[in-house]
């Protein structure tokens, strides 16, 4: 009754082309924005920020980046963890080399550095496809992690081999380091997420996004109708790595504070982000949000249930946790191979017809 396009008249081309053509979607979007910006900062606590909200925001950025590469451009990559490490180490080097540089620019520059590295490792995609490419991107993962743990320059010759983020402020509020409050960290990450999600949505429905999708659907046919595969594939790698690099930088400066490359950005992180993209839905911006939420909240809930309520030993709970996550992924793929977005689409379809069955 409420959720349908009838009666929502578009009088300009701009209105016709808008991101959310249905009024209900538009209002829901404004409501979520208002809640995230207006209400959340008032009620956020340290525990929820650290356990769920900040990792959710950061992993959503990473999932958006990977979704651009896999979901929109069709290039399978398993090197996400390595690229996140590039973002983290680039931000560390920039923070220590230029202490007066604003942290906002540090994070953006770290993203640009990662984009450059991403393009370099994206070069093989011009020759190879599918699983061969996936295995080739694993080369990036292992090589980059090895480079960051073995070259002392990257961690400023610190004896532990760890990097840790010094305190930096935005508008006088600390967003990194031990003094940062949950609210300022939350708003800092949220600002990046909103900006990047907006950018991703508009990139993917513009010329560049259409080129990516043409390459994804059939690259030879795309080449014949005039899409340059060199530009399309490398730009997808660049944009994707930019997002992933920013996610890595935020994960390091805001969330973890101090990291060791092999531990924080290992191959499991690559798989985690890949799961988010697949479970959320390939080629969907909303899917990245849903997938990240599902995989950040799921393990926390399991831990609360098993360790806190049933009082099992934590290693047994950890084994059971990965078993359940594996099982969930399989069940999910069997029941809905196109992810949570496909589920959401079905619900929307039903809502538009409601209360009529057809």
């Amino acid at each position: 009754m409420i959720y349908r396009e009838a009666g929502d008249f578009k009088t300009t081309y701009a209105a016709d082309n808008q991101t959310f053509p249905i009024k209900g979607d538009r209002y829901a979007y404004y409501l979520v924005l208002a809640l995230a910006l207006g209400v959340m900062p008032l009620i956020i606590t340290d525990y929820w920020a650290n356990a769920i909200i900040i990792p959710f925001l950061i992993y959503t950025i990473a999932a958006l980046g990977l979704n651009i590469l896999i979901g929109y451009c069709g290039q399978l990559s398993l090197g996400t963890g390595g690229f996140m490490a590039v973002g983290a180490y680039a931000s560390f080097k920039l923070m220590t080399a230029f202490p007066e540089l604003s942290i906002v620019f540090v994070v953006l520059l770290a993203g640009l550095c990662t984009a450059a590295v991403g393009v370099a490792f994206g070069l093989p995609s011009l020759r190879i496809k599918g699983f061969y490419l996936a295995v080739a991107t694993l080369a990036a993962q292992f090589f980059l992690i090895w480079l960051f743990t073995r070259t002392p320059w990257f961690f400023n010759y610190s004896p532990t081999g760890m990097i840790s983020a010094p305190t930096r402020t935005v508008f006088g509020y600390a967003v990194t380091g031990p003094r940062a409050s949950a609210v300022s960290m939350y708003l800092f990450c949220l600002a990046f997420l909103i900006g990047l999600a907006w950018l991703a949505r508009n990139l993917t429905r513009g010329t560049l996004g259409r080129k990516w999708m043409a390459i994804r659907d059939m690259d030879i046919a795309a080449e014949i109708i005039g899409v340059n595969p060199l530009i399309a594939k490398l730009s997808a790698f660049a944009v994707s790595s930019f997002y992933v690099g920013i996610a890595g930088a935020l994960l390091f400066v805001v969330y973890l504070g101090s990291v060791e490359a092999g531990e924080a950005f290992g191959i499991t992180v690559s798989f985690l982000v890949l799961f988010m993209v697949i479970i959320g839905g390939l080629g969907s911006i909303l899917g990245s949000f849903l997938g990240a939420f599902f995989l950040v909240v799921g393990p926390v809930l399991l831990k609360i249930l098993l360790v806190d309520n049933l009082r099992w030993s934590s290693d047994l709970a950890a084994h059971l946790e990965i078993m359940i996550i594996g099982l969930l992924i399989i069940v999910f793929l069997v029941l809905e191979p196109h992810g949570l977005t496909a589920l959401w689409r079905t619900i929307k379809e039903k809502l538009r017809l409601w209360p009529f069955p057809h």
Partner: protein, 328 residues
């Protein structure tokens, strides 16, 4: 002969035996990929699970004892018997075949006609599940696996090389045995696929699914068959690696070492897996031998991937892979 050359030769010889171990894991990948187009990421975890089951059966552990203890407050751990190695191996084979049947029945039957990436994701999910299951069933601590193969320096190799070069090479007896067993395994796989009815059906499916279906070959049976074969290959790989360095989580990471082998040899070629494994094994040891001291060591984590990557630029389908023909 100068010493450096002798040391390099020794490193290369050790690389050959290590390469056989990689090839053994890569073989499991190739079998499944050929017959069903599934890139089975869980091959490494299957090796770990098979090795855990073997140890568990051999030493008479009670499955899920940790879970049962946590739920009911009991203190179970062992049945109190030990099984002979051969019986335990037979038991593990039964478990792996049952596992193959379950995988086909519960997962891949429902995913027919899905995109390859979805199938790949399902195998990653399977890898996670199996890893958790193995730990919960048999416990997560490092276990010793003894299948009766001698370990330590091989005196024969030492004597022979000493007689030839005046310098005895150090090679592990276990690795030589592993190479021998791998050779027997590959030979029997080739004989099986060439001279038995099931083997011919398997090759037909690998060639063309639809044509195979139309002459009355049951695709489901073939899938169960290849997953069982991959399980048995995983058992052999798990047995060898487990006997060498203990049965523990890191065993599942050998799958990651097998991926560049696959690229090098081609995803669909059994000889490719073996040659690729040998090239990677030797290349890795020699690179670490010559370049390791210069650039800081531990290069074996990524060298294989870089080698495979460079290789791909010249031959995108791998050494023995089928020529990629693209049609619009």
């Amino acid at each position: 002969m100068p010493d450096t050359l002798l040391f390099a030769l020794e490193a290369a010889a050790n690389g050959l035996t290590a390469g056989v171990m990689y090839a053994l894991v890569a073989l499991g990948f190739v079998l499944i990929f050929k017959a069903s187009g599934i890139f089975n990421f869980s091959q490494g975890v299957m090796a770990l699970f098979a090795a855990l089951t073997l140890v568990g059966l051999q030493t008479g552990q009670i499955p899920f004892s940790h879970l049962i203890n946590a739920m009911f407050g009991t203190r179970l751990h062992h049945f109190g018997w030990t099984l002979p190695t051969l019986v335990a191996i037979a038991g593990t084979v039964v478990v792996m075949v049952a596992f193959a049947w379950l995988v086909e029945r519960l997962i891949f039957r429902h995913l027919v006609n899905q995109e390859p990436i979805i199938l790949f994701m399902a195998t990653i999910g399977l890898a996670y599940f199996l890893e958790g299951l193995g730990d919960i069933m048999w416990g997560a601590e490092v276990k010793r696996l003894d299948v009766g193969i001698p370990q330590g320096m091989s005196p024969v190799v030492d004597d022979v090389t000493y007689a030839w070069f005046g310098y005895g090479f150090y090679m592990d007896t276990l690795e030589l045995w592993a190479a021998l067993i791998a050779g027997v395994l590959v030979l029997s796989l080739i004989l099986f696929s060439q001279y038995t009815k099931q083997g011919r059906a398997l090759r037909a499916v690998a060639d063309d699914h639809q044509a195979a279906l139309s002459v009355g070959i049951s695709l489901r049976f073939i899938w169960v068959l290849v997953w069982s074969l991959a399980g048995i290959v995983a058992l052999v790989a798990g047995m060898m690696w487990g006997a060498k360095s203990g049965v523990q989580f890191s065993l599942s990471l050998i799958a990651l070492k097998a991926l560049p082998v696959l690229i090098l040899g081609g995803f669909t070629s059994i000889p490719g897996a073996i040659v690729g494994g040998l090239i990677i094994g030797v290349g890795e040891r020699l690179f670490d031998f010559f370049m390791g001291p210069i650039i800081g060591g531990a290069t074996e984590n990524w060298f294989a991937y870089m080698l495979a990557l460079v290789f791909l630029l010249f031959r995108p389908q791998g050494l023995f892979g089928e020529k990629i023909i693209e049609r619009v």
